[in-house]
Symmetry: C2
Subunit: 242 residues, 2 copies
Protein backbone atom coordinates (compact mmCIF):
# COMPACT_ATOMS: atom_id res chain seq x y z
CA UNK A 1 0.00 0.00 0.00
CA UNK A 2 1.16 3.48 -0.79
CA UNK A 3 -0.03 6.32 1.43
CA UNK A 4 -1.63 9.56 0.29
CA UNK A 5 1.23 11.61 1.65
CA UNK A 6 3.71 9.42 -0.26
CA UNK A 7 1.75 9.94 -3.50
CA UNK A 8 1.75 13.68 -2.86
CA UNK A 9 5.49 13.70 -2.16
CA UNK A 10 6.40 11.67 -5.26
CA UNK A 11 4.21 13.49 -7.76
CA UNK A 12 5.54 16.79 -6.39
CA UNK A 13 9.09 15.71 -7.24
CA UNK A 14 8.37 16.31 -10.91
CA UNK A 15 8.92 19.97 -10.10
CA UNK A 16 12.32 21.42 -9.36
CA UNK A 17 11.08 23.55 -6.47
CA UNK A 18 9.88 20.47 -4.57
CA UNK A 19 13.11 18.62 -5.33
CA UNK A 20 15.08 21.59 -3.98
CA UNK A 21 12.87 21.80 -0.89
CA UNK A 22 12.92 18.10 -0.01
CA UNK A 23 16.38 17.20 -1.33
CA UNK A 24 14.85 14.16 -3.04
CA UNK A 25 14.47 12.88 -6.61
CA UNK A 26 12.75 10.01 -8.41
CA UNK A 27 14.25 7.19 -10.49
CA UNK A 28 12.27 4.51 -12.31
CA UNK A 29 13.00 1.01 -13.58
CA UNK A 30 14.99 -1.79 -11.87
CA UNK A 31 18.17 -1.19 -13.91
CA UNK A 32 18.52 2.52 -13.12
CA UNK A 33 17.51 2.01 -9.47
CA UNK A 34 20.01 -0.82 -9.04
CA UNK A 35 22.84 1.31 -10.46
CA UNK A 36 22.02 4.18 -8.11
CA UNK A 37 21.92 1.85 -5.07
CA UNK A 38 25.23 0.28 -6.15
CA UNK A 39 26.82 3.71 -6.40
CA UNK A 40 25.88 4.36 -2.77
CA UNK A 41 23.06 6.88 -3.13
CA UNK A 42 20.75 7.03 -0.11
CA UNK A 43 17.41 5.38 -0.75
CA UNK A 44 14.38 7.11 0.72
CA UNK A 45 11.49 5.04 -0.69
CA UNK A 46 11.33 1.99 -2.96
CA UNK A 47 8.25 0.51 -4.59
CA UNK A 48 7.94 -2.42 -6.97
CA UNK A 49 5.10 -4.42 -8.50
CA UNK A 50 6.92 -7.70 -7.92
CA UNK A 51 9.97 -9.16 -6.18
CA UNK A 52 13.01 -7.90 -8.08
CA UNK A 53 16.41 -9.58 -8.16
CA UNK A 54 19.03 -7.92 -5.90
CA UNK A 55 16.55 -5.32 -4.59
CA UNK A 56 16.63 -4.59 -0.82
CA UNK A 57 14.33 -6.69 1.37
CA UNK A 58 12.30 -3.73 2.54
CA UNK A 59 11.07 -2.96 -0.99
CA UNK A 60 7.38 -2.21 -0.72
CA UNK A 61 5.17 -4.21 -3.08
CA UNK A 62 2.36 -2.23 -4.71
CA UNK A 63 -0.11 -2.92 -7.53
CA UNK A 64 0.47 -1.90 -11.15
CA UNK A 65 -2.31 0.65 -10.81
CA UNK A 66 -0.66 2.19 -7.78
CA UNK A 67 2.67 2.37 -9.59
CA UNK A 68 1.08 3.99 -12.63
CA UNK A 69 -0.40 6.62 -10.32
CA UNK A 70 3.01 7.75 -9.07
CA UNK A 71 5.01 7.10 -12.27
CA UNK A 72 6.27 9.94 -14.47
CA UNK A 73 6.37 7.60 -17.47
CA UNK A 74 3.45 7.11 -19.85
CA UNK A 75 3.72 3.39 -19.18
CA UNK A 76 5.17 2.70 -15.76
CA UNK A 77 8.08 0.30 -15.41
CA UNK A 78 8.05 -2.27 -12.56
CA UNK A 79 9.76 -0.17 -9.89
CA UNK A 80 10.03 3.43 -8.67
CA UNK A 81 12.46 4.78 -6.10
CA UNK A 82 12.98 8.07 -4.28
CA UNK A 83 16.62 8.90 -3.53
CA UNK A 84 18.31 11.69 -1.63
CA UNK A 85 20.08 14.22 -3.85
CA UNK A 86 23.80 13.86 -2.99
CA UNK A 87 25.53 16.87 -1.44
CA UNK A 88 27.28 19.09 -3.96
CA UNK A 89 31.06 18.69 -3.84
CA UNK A 90 33.60 21.29 -4.80
CA UNK A 91 35.11 21.26 -8.29
CA UNK A 92 38.73 20.18 -8.44
CA UNK A 93 41.19 21.68 -10.92
CA UNK A 94 42.06 18.34 -12.47
CA UNK A 95 41.31 16.22 -15.52
CA UNK A 96 38.93 17.25 -18.24
CA UNK A 97 35.95 19.29 -17.00
CA UNK A 98 32.91 19.52 -19.26
CA UNK A 99 30.92 22.77 -19.09
CA UNK A 100 27.39 23.19 -20.45
CA UNK A 101 26.09 26.66 -21.23
CA UNK A 102 22.26 26.66 -21.11
CA UNK A 103 21.53 23.16 -22.40
CA UNK A 104 17.74 22.97 -22.07
CA UNK A 105 16.63 19.57 -23.34
CA UNK A 106 16.46 16.86 -20.61
CA UNK A 107 17.26 14.12 -23.14
CA UNK A 108 20.39 15.98 -24.26
CA UNK A 109 21.63 16.46 -20.69
CA UNK A 110 20.93 12.79 -19.90
CA UNK A 111 22.86 11.66 -22.98
CA UNK A 112 25.75 13.98 -22.12
CA UNK A 113 25.96 12.64 -18.53
CA UNK A 114 26.08 9.11 -19.98
CA UNK A 115 28.89 10.22 -22.32
CA UNK A 116 30.83 11.70 -19.38
CA UNK A 117 30.54 8.35 -17.62
CA UNK A 118 31.80 6.49 -20.71
CA UNK A 119 34.73 8.81 -21.27
CA UNK A 120 35.69 9.04 -17.59
CA UNK A 121 34.78 12.72 -17.23
CA UNK A 122 34.16 13.00 -13.49
CA UNK A 123 33.13 16.65 -13.33
CA UNK A 124 30.33 18.38 -15.22
CA UNK A 125 29.67 22.08 -14.66
CA UNK A 126 26.30 23.46 -15.79
CA UNK A 127 25.22 27.08 -16.09
CA UNK A 128 22.40 28.01 -13.71
CA UNK A 129 19.94 28.00 -16.65
CA UNK A 130 20.83 24.47 -17.77
CA UNK A 131 18.04 21.94 -17.17
CA UNK A 132 18.16 20.35 -13.68
CA UNK A 133 20.01 17.02 -13.66
CA UNK A 134 17.47 15.54 -11.20
CA UNK A 135 14.62 16.24 -13.60
CA UNK A 136 13.00 12.78 -14.00
CA UNK A 137 13.57 12.77 -17.78
CA UNK A 138 17.27 13.47 -17.27
CA UNK A 139 17.62 10.78 -14.58
CA UNK A 140 15.86 8.30 -16.87
CA UNK A 141 18.03 8.99 -19.90
CA UNK A 142 21.31 8.82 -17.92
CA UNK A 143 20.54 5.13 -17.32
CA UNK A 144 22.15 5.35 -13.89
CA UNK A 145 25.28 7.21 -15.00
CA UNK A 146 24.22 10.22 -12.95
CA UNK A 147 25.56 8.54 -9.82
CA UNK A 148 29.07 8.44 -11.28
CA UNK A 149 29.33 12.01 -12.59
CA UNK A 150 29.58 15.01 -10.28
CA UNK A 151 27.30 17.81 -11.54
CA UNK A 152 27.65 21.40 -10.28
CA UNK A 153 25.44 24.36 -11.19
CA UNK A 154 27.54 27.51 -11.22
CA UNK A 155 27.83 30.97 -12.71
CA UNK A 156 30.00 30.06 -15.69
CA UNK A 157 31.82 33.36 -16.11
CA UNK A 158 32.95 33.23 -12.49
CA UNK A 159 33.96 29.57 -12.64
CA UNK A 160 35.96 29.99 -15.85
CA UNK A 161 37.53 33.23 -14.69
CA UNK A 162 38.79 31.59 -11.51
CA UNK A 163 40.18 28.51 -13.24
CA UNK A 164 43.82 28.19 -14.29
CA UNK A 165 43.05 25.45 -16.83
CA UNK A 166 42.96 26.08 -20.60
CA UNK A 167 39.42 26.72 -21.85
CA UNK A 168 38.20 25.14 -25.11
CA UNK A 169 34.81 25.94 -26.60
CA UNK A 170 32.81 24.33 -29.43
CA UNK A 171 31.90 27.02 -31.95
CA UNK A 172 30.83 26.98 -35.60
CA UNK A 173 33.85 28.83 -36.99
CA UNK A 174 36.85 27.69 -34.96
CA UNK A 175 39.90 25.53 -35.76
CA UNK A 176 39.28 21.92 -36.72
CA UNK A 177 39.22 19.72 -33.63
CA UNK A 178 41.12 17.11 -35.67
CA UNK A 179 44.10 19.34 -36.30
CA UNK A 180 44.50 20.80 -32.84
CA UNK A 181 46.71 19.46 -30.05
CA UNK A 182 44.35 18.70 -27.17
CA UNK A 183 45.41 18.61 -23.50
CA UNK A 184 44.56 15.95 -20.89
CA UNK A 185 43.56 18.64 -18.42
CA UNK A 186 41.28 21.48 -19.34
CA UNK A 187 37.77 22.84 -19.68
CA UNK A 188 35.54 22.09 -22.68
CA UNK A 189 32.47 24.32 -23.10
CA UNK A 190 29.43 23.21 -25.13
CA UNK A 191 26.63 25.68 -25.85
CA UNK A 192 22.86 25.92 -26.00
CA UNK A 193 20.88 23.89 -28.58
CA UNK A 194 19.79 26.89 -30.62
CA UNK A 195 22.23 29.67 -29.79
CA UNK A 196 25.52 27.97 -28.96
CA UNK A 197 27.81 29.44 -26.34
CA UNK A 198 26.62 32.77 -24.89
CA UNK A 199 28.72 35.78 -25.87
CA UNK A 200 29.82 36.46 -22.27
CA UNK A 201 31.26 32.96 -22.00
CA UNK A 202 32.63 32.94 -25.55
CA UNK A 203 34.85 35.89 -24.66
CA UNK A 204 36.52 33.77 -21.99
CA UNK A 205 37.55 30.93 -24.36
CA UNK A 206 41.26 30.34 -24.95
CA UNK A 207 40.67 28.04 -27.94
CA UNK A 208 37.73 27.97 -30.37
CA UNK A 209 37.29 24.50 -31.87
CA UNK A 210 34.93 23.11 -34.50
CA UNK A 211 33.88 19.72 -35.85
CA UNK A 212 34.45 20.07 -39.61
CA UNK A 213 31.47 19.48 -41.88
CA UNK A 214 32.14 16.99 -44.68
CA UNK A 215 28.68 17.17 -46.25
CA UNK A 216 27.01 19.89 -48.31
CA UNK A 217 28.38 23.18 -47.03
CA UNK A 218 25.19 24.97 -48.11
CA UNK A 219 23.11 23.07 -45.58
CA UNK A 220 22.17 25.22 -42.63
CA UNK A 221 21.79 22.60 -39.93
CA UNK A 222 24.32 22.14 -37.15
CA UNK A 223 24.98 19.01 -35.13
CA UNK A 224 22.84 18.26 -32.10
CA UNK A 225 24.64 19.26 -28.86
CA UNK A 226 24.69 15.67 -27.55
CA UNK A 227 26.26 14.23 -30.73
CA UNK A 228 28.70 17.14 -30.94
CA UNK A 229 29.70 16.48 -27.32
CA UNK A 230 30.20 12.78 -28.16
CA UNK A 231 32.63 13.68 -30.95
CA UNK A 232 34.50 16.30 -28.91
CA UNK A 233 34.95 14.01 -25.88
CA UNK A 234 36.08 11.19 -28.18
CA UNK A 235 38.71 13.50 -29.70
CA UNK A 236 40.04 14.63 -26.32
CA UNK A 237 40.27 11.04 -25.07
CA UNK A 238 41.70 9.64 -28.31
CA UNK A 239 44.56 12.08 -28.24
CA UNK A 240 45.37 12.11 -24.55
CA UNK A 241 44.28 8.63 -23.43
CA UNK A 242 43.62 8.35 -19.71
Amino acid sequence: MISKSQIKLITGLQQKKYRDKSGLFVAEGPKVIRELINEGLNLHLLFATDTIDSFPENTELISKNELQKISFLKTANTALAVFEIPQEKEIKETGLVLVLDAVRDPGNLGTIIRLCDWFGIKQLVCSIDTVDCYNPKVVQSTMGSIARVQVNYLKLEEFIDNSAMPVYGAVMDGDSVYSRQLPSEGILVMGNEANGISSAVEQLLDYRITIPRFGDIQATESLNVATATAIMLSEFRRVTGR
Copy 2:
Protein backbone atom coordinates in the same frame (compact mmCIF):
# COMPACT_ATOMS: atom_id res chain seq x y z
CA MET B 1 -10.01 26.36 -44.79
CA ILE B 2 -8.95 22.78 -44.60
CA SER B 3 -11.32 20.11 -45.94
CA LYS B 4 -12.49 17.00 -44.09
CA SER B 5 -10.78 14.74 -46.62
CA GLN B 6 -7.51 16.64 -46.17
CA ILE B 7 -7.73 16.19 -42.38
CA LYS B 8 -8.39 12.48 -42.88
CA LEU B 9 -5.45 12.15 -45.28
CA ILE B 10 -3.00 13.99 -43.02
CA THR B 11 -3.90 12.31 -39.75
CA GLY B 12 -3.70 8.95 -41.54
CA LEU B 13 -0.09 9.69 -42.49
CA GLN B 14 0.98 9.06 -38.89
CA GLN B 15 0.74 5.39 -39.82
CA LYS B 16 3.23 3.65 -42.05
CA LYS B 17 0.59 1.72 -43.99
CA TYR B 18 -1.09 4.96 -45.15
CA ARG B 19 2.28 6.49 -46.04
CA ASP B 20 3.08 3.41 -48.11
CA LYS B 21 -0.33 3.46 -49.77
CA SER B 22 -0.37 7.16 -50.63
CA GLY B 23 3.37 7.72 -51.14
CA LEU B 24 3.12 10.84 -48.96
CA PHE B 25 4.59 12.03 -45.66
CA VAL B 26 4.19 15.01 -43.31
CA ALA B 27 6.76 17.63 -42.26
CA GLU B 28 6.15 20.42 -39.75
CA GLY B 29 7.71 23.80 -39.07
CA PRO B 30 8.90 26.46 -41.56
CA LYS B 31 12.58 25.52 -41.27
CA VAL B 32 12.18 21.82 -42.06
CA ILE B 33 9.61 22.51 -44.79
CA ARG B 34 11.85 25.12 -46.42
CA GLU B 35 14.79 22.71 -46.48
CA LEU B 36 12.70 19.99 -48.10
CA ILE B 37 11.39 22.39 -50.74
CA ASN B 38 14.94 23.63 -51.42
CA GLU B 39 16.13 20.06 -51.90
CA GLY B 40 13.53 19.61 -54.63
CA LEU B 41 10.99 17.35 -52.94
CA ASN B 42 7.53 17.48 -54.47
CA LEU B 43 5.08 19.42 -52.36
CA HIS B 44 1.56 18.01 -52.17
CA LEU B 45 -0.09 20.29 -49.59
CA LEU B 46 1.12 23.27 -47.57
CA PHE B 47 -0.67 24.98 -44.69
CA ALA B 48 0.47 27.85 -42.50
CA THR B 49 -1.09 30.05 -39.84
CA ASP B 50 0.52 33.16 -41.27
CA THR B 51 2.49 34.41 -44.28
CA ILE B 52 5.94 32.83 -44.03
CA ASP B 53 9.09 34.20 -45.62
CA SER B 54 10.17 32.36 -48.83
CA PHE B 55 7.14 30.03 -48.75
CA PRO B 56 5.33 29.42 -52.08
CA GLU B 57 2.48 31.77 -52.93
CA ASN B 58 -0.12 29.03 -52.97
CA THR B 59 0.41 28.29 -49.25
CA GLU B 60 -3.02 27.86 -47.71
CA LEU B 61 -3.64 30.00 -44.63
CA ILE B 62 -5.49 28.25 -41.82
CA SER B 63 -6.27 29.06 -38.18
CA LYS B 64 -4.13 27.89 -35.27
CA ASN B 65 -6.97 25.61 -34.19
CA GLU B 66 -7.11 24.01 -37.61
CA LEU B 67 -3.35 23.48 -37.60
CA GLN B 68 -3.44 21.92 -34.13
CA LYS B 69 -6.08 19.50 -35.42
CA ILE B 70 -3.78 18.10 -38.13
CA SER B 71 -0.46 18.49 -36.28
CA PHE B 72 1.42 15.48 -34.88
CA LEU B 73 3.15 17.73 -32.35
CA LYS B 74 1.78 18.42 -28.88
CA THR B 75 2.04 22.12 -29.66
CA ALA B 76 1.74 22.77 -33.37
CA ASN B 77 4.35 24.90 -35.12
CA THR B 78 3.21 27.55 -37.64
CA ALA B 79 3.23 25.36 -40.77
CA LEU B 80 2.56 21.79 -41.90
CA ALA B 81 3.33 20.29 -45.31
CA VAL B 82 2.62 17.03 -47.09
CA PHE B 83 5.37 15.90 -49.46
CA GLU B 84 5.70 13.01 -51.90
CA ILE B 85 8.07 10.28 -50.74
CA PRO B 86 10.95 10.32 -53.27
CA GLN B 87 11.46 7.21 -55.39
CA GLU B 88 13.98 4.78 -53.96
CA LYS B 89 17.29 4.84 -55.86
CA GLU B 90 19.72 1.97 -56.16
CA ILE B 91 22.70 1.79 -53.81
CA LYS B 92 26.06 2.54 -55.42
CA GLU B 93 29.25 0.78 -54.36
CA THR B 94 31.03 3.98 -53.49
CA GLY B 95 32.01 6.07 -50.51
CA LEU B 96 31.13 5.21 -46.94
CA VAL B 97 27.75 3.48 -46.59
CA LEU B 98 26.14 3.45 -43.14
CA VAL B 99 24.02 0.41 -42.30
CA LEU B 100 21.52 0.26 -39.41
CA ASP B 101 20.44 -3.11 -38.02
CA ALA B 102 17.03 -2.76 -36.33
CA VAL B 103 17.30 0.77 -34.91
CA ARG B 104 13.84 1.29 -33.39
CA ASP B 105 13.78 4.74 -31.84
CA PRO B 106 12.59 7.52 -34.21
CA GLY B 107 14.75 10.12 -32.42
CA ASN B 108 17.84 7.97 -32.87
CA LEU B 109 17.19 7.47 -36.59
CA GLY B 110 16.55 11.18 -37.04
CA THR B 111 19.78 12.08 -35.27
CA ILE B 112 21.71 9.53 -37.34
CA ILE B 113 20.33 10.93 -40.63
CA ARG B 114 21.42 14.41 -39.48
CA LEU B 115 24.89 13.00 -38.73
CA CYS B 116 25.06 11.42 -42.21
CA ASP B 117 24.27 14.81 -43.70
CA TRP B 118 27.01 16.48 -41.62
CA PHE B 119 29.66 13.91 -42.47
CA GLY B 120 28.73 13.67 -46.15
CA ILE B 121 27.41 10.11 -45.97
CA LYS B 122 25.09 9.96 -48.96
CA GLN B 123 23.77 6.44 -48.53
CA LEU B 124 22.06 4.92 -45.50
CA VAL B 125 20.88 1.31 -45.61
CA CYS B 126 18.34 0.20 -42.98
CA SER B 127 17.20 -3.31 -42.12
CA ILE B 128 13.52 -3.93 -42.87
CA ASP B 129 12.75 -3.78 -39.13
CA THR B 130 14.39 -0.37 -38.64
CA VAL B 131 11.90 2.43 -37.89
CA ASP B 132 10.48 4.09 -41.04
CA CYS B 133 12.40 7.24 -42.01
CA TYR B 134 9.15 9.00 -43.00
CA ASN B 135 7.72 8.49 -39.53
CA PRO B 136 6.80 12.06 -38.46
CA LYS B 137 9.09 11.94 -35.41
CA VAL B 138 12.02 10.93 -37.60
CA VAL B 139 11.31 13.64 -40.18
CA GLN B 140 11.09 16.21 -37.39
CA SER B 141 14.35 15.24 -35.75
CA THR B 142 16.30 15.16 -39.05
CA MET B 143 15.69 18.94 -39.28
CA GLY B 144 15.46 18.66 -43.08
CA SER B 145 18.54 16.48 -43.55
CA ILE B 146 16.36 13.64 -44.77
CA ALA B 147 16.19 15.27 -48.20
CA ARG B 148 19.98 15.01 -48.59
CA VAL B 149 20.52 11.41 -47.47
CA GLN B 150 19.36 8.45 -49.57
CA VAL B 151 17.72 5.84 -47.32
CA ASN B 152 17.10 2.28 -48.53
CA TYR B 153 15.32 -0.51 -46.60
CA LEU B 154 16.90 -3.84 -47.52
CA LYS B 155 17.56 -7.34 -46.27
CA LEU B 156 20.94 -6.70 -44.69
CA GLU B 157 22.44 -10.17 -45.13
CA GLU B 158 21.72 -10.04 -48.85
CA PHE B 159 23.01 -6.49 -49.25
CA ILE B 160 26.25 -7.16 -47.37
CA ASP B 161 26.78 -10.52 -49.08
CA ASN B 162 26.53 -8.89 -52.51
CA SER B 163 28.86 -5.99 -51.71
CA ALA B 164 32.57 -6.04 -52.50
CA MET B 165 33.32 -3.28 -49.95
CA PRO B 166 34.99 -3.99 -46.59
CA VAL B 167 32.43 -4.35 -43.79
CA TYR B 168 33.03 -2.75 -40.38
CA GLY B 169 30.70 -3.28 -37.43
CA ALA B 170 30.43 -1.56 -34.03
CA VAL B 171 30.57 -4.22 -31.32
CA MET B 172 31.37 -4.17 -27.59
CA ASP B 173 34.52 -6.32 -27.75
CA GLY B 174 36.29 -5.38 -31.00
CA ASP B 175 39.52 -3.53 -31.80
CA SER B 176 39.76 0.10 -30.72
CA VAL B 177 38.44 2.36 -33.47
CA TYR B 178 41.30 4.76 -32.62
CA SER B 179 44.03 2.24 -33.45
CA ARG B 180 42.60 0.83 -36.64
CA GLN B 181 43.35 2.03 -40.18
CA LEU B 182 39.98 3.07 -41.61
CA PRO B 183 39.16 3.16 -45.34
CA SER B 184 37.45 5.94 -47.30
CA GLU B 185 35.14 3.39 -48.95
CA GLY B 186 33.32 0.76 -47.00
CA ILE B 187 30.31 -0.29 -45.00
CA LEU B 188 29.83 0.59 -41.32
CA VAL B 189 27.14 -1.37 -39.44
CA MET B 190 25.53 -0.05 -36.24
CA GLY B 191 23.18 -2.28 -34.25
CA ASN B 192 19.94 -2.19 -32.30
CA GLU B 193 19.59 -0.04 -29.14
CA ALA B 194 19.33 -3.02 -26.76
CA ASN B 195 20.82 -5.97 -28.60
CA GLY B 196 23.48 -4.54 -30.90
CA ILE B 197 24.13 -6.14 -34.29
CA SER B 198 22.10 -9.32 -34.93
CA SER B 199 24.14 -12.53 -34.99
CA ALA B 200 23.33 -13.21 -38.67
CA VAL B 201 24.79 -9.83 -39.66
CA GLU B 202 27.67 -10.03 -37.17
CA GLN B 203 28.93 -13.15 -38.95
CA LEU B 204 29.33 -11.11 -42.16
CA LEU B 205 31.60 -8.44 -40.61
CA ASP B 206 35.17 -8.19 -41.86
CA TYR B 207 36.27 -5.91 -38.99
CA ARG B 208 34.86 -5.64 -35.46
CA ILE B 209 35.48 -2.19 -34.00
CA THR B 210 34.80 -0.65 -30.58
CA ILE B 211 34.81 2.79 -28.98
CA PRO B 212 37.06 2.31 -25.91
CA ARG B 213 35.58 3.10 -22.53
CA PHE B 214 37.70 5.46 -20.44
CA GLY B 215 35.40 5.57 -17.42
CA ASP B 216 34.69 2.96 -14.75
CA ILE B 217 34.96 -0.42 -16.45
CA GLN B 218 32.53 -1.92 -13.94
CA ALA B 219 29.67 0.21 -15.24
CA THR B 220 27.26 -1.79 -17.33
CA GLU B 221 25.90 0.89 -19.59
CA SER B 222 26.82 1.17 -23.27
CA LEU B 223 26.74 4.29 -25.42
CA ASN B 224 23.49 5.29 -27.08
CA VAL B 225 23.46 4.22 -30.77
CA ALA B 226 23.21 7.82 -32.03
CA THR B 227 26.20 9.04 -30.01
CA ALA B 228 28.19 5.91 -30.92
CA THR B 229 27.41 6.59 -34.59
CA ALA B 230 28.58 10.18 -34.16
CA ILE B 231 31.95 9.02 -32.83
CA MET B 232 32.37 6.29 -35.46
CA LEU B 233 31.56 8.60 -38.39
CA SER B 234 33.88 11.26 -36.97
CA GLU B 235 36.70 8.68 -36.83
CA PHE B 236 36.15 7.52 -40.42
CA ARG B 237 36.09 11.11 -41.68
CA ARG B 238 38.99 12.30 -39.55
CA VAL B 239 41.26 9.61 -40.92
CA THR B 240 40.23 9.63 -44.57
CA GLY B 241 39.11 13.22 -45.07
CA ARG B 242 36.82 13.74 -48.03
